[in-house]
Amino acid sequence: MIAFVLRRLLQSISVMLVVGLIAFSLFRFVGDPINNMVGQDTGDKDRAELRQELGLNDAFVVQFARFVGNATKGEFGVSFRQGRKVSTLIAERLPATLELSLTAATLALLVGVPLGVYTGLRRESPLSKLILALSLVGVSLPTFLIGILLILLFSVVLGWLPAFGRGDVVQLGWWSTGFLTRSGLRALVLPAVTLGLFQMTLIIRLVRAEMLEVLRTDYIKFARARGLANRAINFGHALKNTLVPVITITGLQLGSIIAFAIITEQVFQWPGMGLLFIQAVAFVDIPVMAAYLMLVAFVFVVINLIVDLLYYAVDPRLRIDRALAGGHGG
């Protein structure tokens, strides 16, 4: 058990280092950092001095080590575009994105899993076919289009919900939350549904496919041959076996919600990190891009780790045979 955790931790760290390398390379090789920071009329001598001061003449490895050291402290330098510290910018925007993502993920799971199970168990019912048809449409709708349609219906036509911004927020320490105000909650509805819908349809289809696969196995056949009640078979055996592989994939999906938030934030002008990132890409604001990258990688790695640990806890085969432990990726 300990060996397993240690190994996964080491893997995670190496992934972070690789991402860090990419982020760092962005700094060094994409455009000239000096050019991005100073005006055009700064003399060459000043530039050379600045270069020396910032340590840009040191060896690659030294610079990289410095970068990593700074990164672990949350120090990413100053945004080219806004001139403010990147860490401050991120801290301001992070709560918005996290609250949105969490709400969307919860929604996707709470609705997606039961629907997926239902369509797996009752394959031929008209409701199942309807849900599947809708889920197919859901997968074909790009997230931004869903957002636009929802805005059209609920903001423009019906006028029930706001289409932009986050509403009023309450400041708790450095965290600003929209959960505690009515306008904050109302502003959360459309973006959360938009963000969660795509994930939800994916979950429905995934759970259904897994369920169908499980229902075809020999142990289900044997359970039937033993005369077990349908409820015991479907919810005792089939469900548990379905959910185990679903955990991994869903976990990874949840990580990607944070990235998909980029689109939703653009559509709804939600003041989160995604919006920040878009603006950074358009402007080639390297520090922000690098910081965002590292942060997202960190979240992914943490989620992956948790999923692996969960898997380990749920699947008894992994506990004994350590050789299997690392190898289930999709």
């Binding site: 020999d218 142990y219 044997f222 039937r224 033993r226 005369g227 009640a229 548990k240 008894p316 004994i320």
Partner: protein, 334 residues
Amino acid sequence: MTVPSNRPPLLQLEHLRVEFPSRHGTLTAVDDVSFEIAEGEVLGVVGESGAGKSITGAAIIGLIEPPGRIAGGRVLFEGERIDDLPYEKLRRIRGKRIGTIFQDPLTSLNPLYSIGRQLIETILTHTSLSPREARQRAIDLLSEVGIPSPAQRIDHYPHQFSGGMRQRVVIALALCANPRLVIADEPTTALDVSIQAQIIAVLKKLCREHGTAVMLITHDMGVIAETADRVAVMYAGRVVEVGPLREVVKHPRHPYTVGLMGSIPTLRGSRARLAQIDGSMPRLNRIPPGCAFHPRCPRAFERCEHERPELINDGPSWTSCWLYAPLARTGSDG
């Protein structure tokens, strides 16, 4: 219709017919199959892969996968018809009065649950024992099938057992509610040869002790020879011969059975070469008219090509071969 025995039949199959509609036409996997199993008796059902043995077993307990369906005939268990029962009634018979053993013990057990959980769940479904009593019964069953240290191993998971041990667990699961009949579908095929004998011994012992009848489906004549009281030989979805074990093995009537017995390698006695039946069993959608075996039969004659033979009595055996029709007997063998 079948061999008269001095005990009332536990299971009766009458003209059972199982069809699978498909794009290429309707495939008849089981075609007019009739036989009986008496209480406590072991009937071996033998034949090549694809002869319809497993499907017959599945049909008895109503586990044919759609679009397959029972298209004709009747299945009677303890005198009552069970092929037309609604799902719930049939479910109550499964496990409790008819047990089943499948071929692959690894995939028959849910890998995420301990074997104790799977045993206790089955016991609780079919009996009115309390959970604690059920657990004790499970432990007793495990020791009956020969699992060492059952009180500890009951909480282990399937992957922690070897193949032979797993199949013993499967046997325990099939027998835990004390059924009157067990359908064993290729119970030893997936196991090492050295383990096969052990498993068969366990099965035999338990069934003898509890008076359970067995329908032993296999393509391995060696297993049949060890275990069965009577044998039914199937070919292309039909029964070609039924009779007591000694009769069928020593005095096979049907030419297919003759070929089957002749193709068994034996350590005793010298045989110059293994006999072999030319050709292969026809595919289900290309079954020849008349007797299904006639294209490969060394003794086929004109009647075999047009008329499908029914089961004809010849001494203690029954065989579906025109060679044994009362008037056409040429007295060539016995």
